[in-house]
Symmetry: C2
């Protein structure tokens, strides 16, 4: 493999000139630049990433810490990852993929060994143990999520509180007064994953503000989980006319259950789902939904990283406005249900 010195010799210039042609960090005469670029092309020169990192203290790599369990939410995670990688590439950066399983040790390892310039973490918990560790790193971090104390660390996410409110407002606008929340799985609540908490809080607050009767319940995965969740909701609040579903996995079995028990959507039960757009439209009933804008959030996370690396100012809490798209799963409440 040719080195920068080989290129310099071939072009009849000094290595530093080659470096400056590459980086554009100082003016180079058109003629010299041309000679250098010709030499680079001819020799097939590619700068050595390690040498660069050593000399410049920049790796042009960012870490992405993802929850790689074969758990819930797989498509959403994939969308985040895709957005992050794509956006990173547009800034000439690459992405090192870590699993959340490695915990604090993982982020410290890659940061301390100077493998990355910055970190993006997803699936944060309320009191995430990694946060104090992140504060000690010399590299900046951006979180996808909003843990309790994130002082000094940039956070990006959908505004799940506002999303819950938007869902209830929409249903209330259609006359619904008795509404159930099919929540994420108990495991998600147990981990205190921040989006679940924020959604629930927003849901409860909006219930009060809008004068609604609501009931909430987590929902185990699988048909059986959905059945028991619905049984609980029905038992705790008779005459439910609408459901808010914050659980991607549950959507399909829920629709099956409603169908099997003769409750039509939207005639008997209206539904607002919180899920990616394509999930909402892949159901037997086209679901009115609030999108989880994984692409936007991922892209924004990368943009925030880049600002941080450039030493520019960033907003430390950036919550994206939810947007509800009306489809076919909500109807005006019928007179008989009032």
């Amino acid at each position: 493999m040719p080195t920068i010195n080989d290129v310099a010799k071939a072009a009849g210039v000094s290595p530093s000139t080659v470096s400056y042609v590459l980086s554009g960090r100082r003016p180079i005469s058109a003629e010299t630049r041309a000679r250098v670029q010709a030499a680079i092309a001819e020799l097939g020169f590619h700068p050595h990433a390690g040498a660069r990192a050593l000399a410049s203290s920049k790796t042009n790599v960012i870490a992405l810490v993802a929850p790689l369990r074969v758990d819930v939410n797989v498509p959403v995670i994939m969308q985040f990852a895709t957005a992050v990688v794509t956006a990173a590439r547009s800034y000439n950066h690459d992405v090192l993929l870590l699993t959340k399983d490695e915990g604090t040790a993982g982020v410290e390892r890659v940061a301390h060994s100077t493998m990355v310039d910055a970190l993006i973490l997803m699936d944060l918990e309320r009191d995430d143990l990694r946060i104090p560790a992140l504060r000690r790193l010399k590299q900046p971090s951006v979180l996808i999520g909003l843990p309790a104390d994130h002082t000094g660390i940039a956070c990006v996410d959908l505004d799940f509180g506002a999303a819950a409110r938007a869902a209830l407002t929409h249903l209330a606008g259609h006359g619904h007064r008795r509404i159930g929340l099919v929540g994420p799985s108990p495991a998600v609540y147990k981990r205190q994953t921040t989006y679940a908490d924020r959604f629930l809080t927003g849901f409860l607050e909006a219930s009060v503000d809008l004068g609604l009767q609501t009931v909430t319940h987590p929902c185990e995965p699988g048909a059986e989980g959905v059945r028991s969740c619905m049984a609980d909701l029905d038992a705790e609040l008779a005459g439910l006319t609408a459901l808010v579903v914050h659980n991607e996995e549950a959507l399909r079995p829920l629709l099956d259950l409603l169908h099997a028990t003769g409750r039509r959507v939207p005639e008997d039960v209206s539904i607002v789902a919180i899920c990616p757009r394509d999930v909402a439209t892949a159901m037997p009933v086209n679901l009115t939904s609030i999108d989880i804008p994984a692409h936007d959030v991922g892209t924004l996370a990368v943009e925030t990283v880049m600002r941080l690396l450039d030493g520019r100012r960033v907003e430390y809490t950036r919550l994206l406005e939810p947007s509800l798209v009306e489809r076919d799963s909500c109807s005006e409440i019928s007179a008989s249900h009032r």
Copy 2:
């Protein structure tokens, strides 16, 4: 950040000794080792990855090139990625995540700039343009898939041909003689994704060998795609009693369709699915299935990479035996259908 020299001073040894303590590449007296390790711990020393890469020509990073479209197969891809990252970590390597979208340029970029020691690629096409490029790299590659000409490049995958044969053999053993294949989407065939071709070829060959009447059809995503696929299958071969489904997305809508049209599973139609285990068991009917062993394949790919990096011999084509798990979607054909 402390350097190896700081550690050396603190421990009263030379930098090379510290290096050897770290790498274990030469014997060190217990006493010296202890002093060095104490110094490392006290100073919180972590070797600089770039410096290491520069001096040793090893990055301890492998590239994973994944199809990050928000396309089909999302869960399977996720399982591969998880397995690869986990296995790589167990060999003290990290994973750089690339998208297939970058194509040849992407693999060349990371390889030429010495960001990685090896590459793992998934979602290979029959005549994949990247293969000639891979051959020119100094880093070894391992493919998850089996393109037409992979001379000199290690490939790992499920034996999809054998999987097709196993599915048909199972059904034939239950007396079925008229069998349809619900294939992947036309897009997958168009890309000539290797697993689709291999499955189809195996299916056709086994049909002949077993004396079966079969008919095959790709299947567009969505309920409509499934409907039209089934219509075609039924039209081309009357009296189908069994289906082989090589299309994860189609499973759910297919079961819905069969239910809606009054064809019971397995009483009227038997089904063998090719999909991850958890997908098979998440359906309304527990499906008899042939697992896509993403975890095993991903792990094996990493093991192969490590052997290659160690200069050990590897098998250049490693196709994992399919294993069919019997569940509730296949029955002996009833007399009326014979």
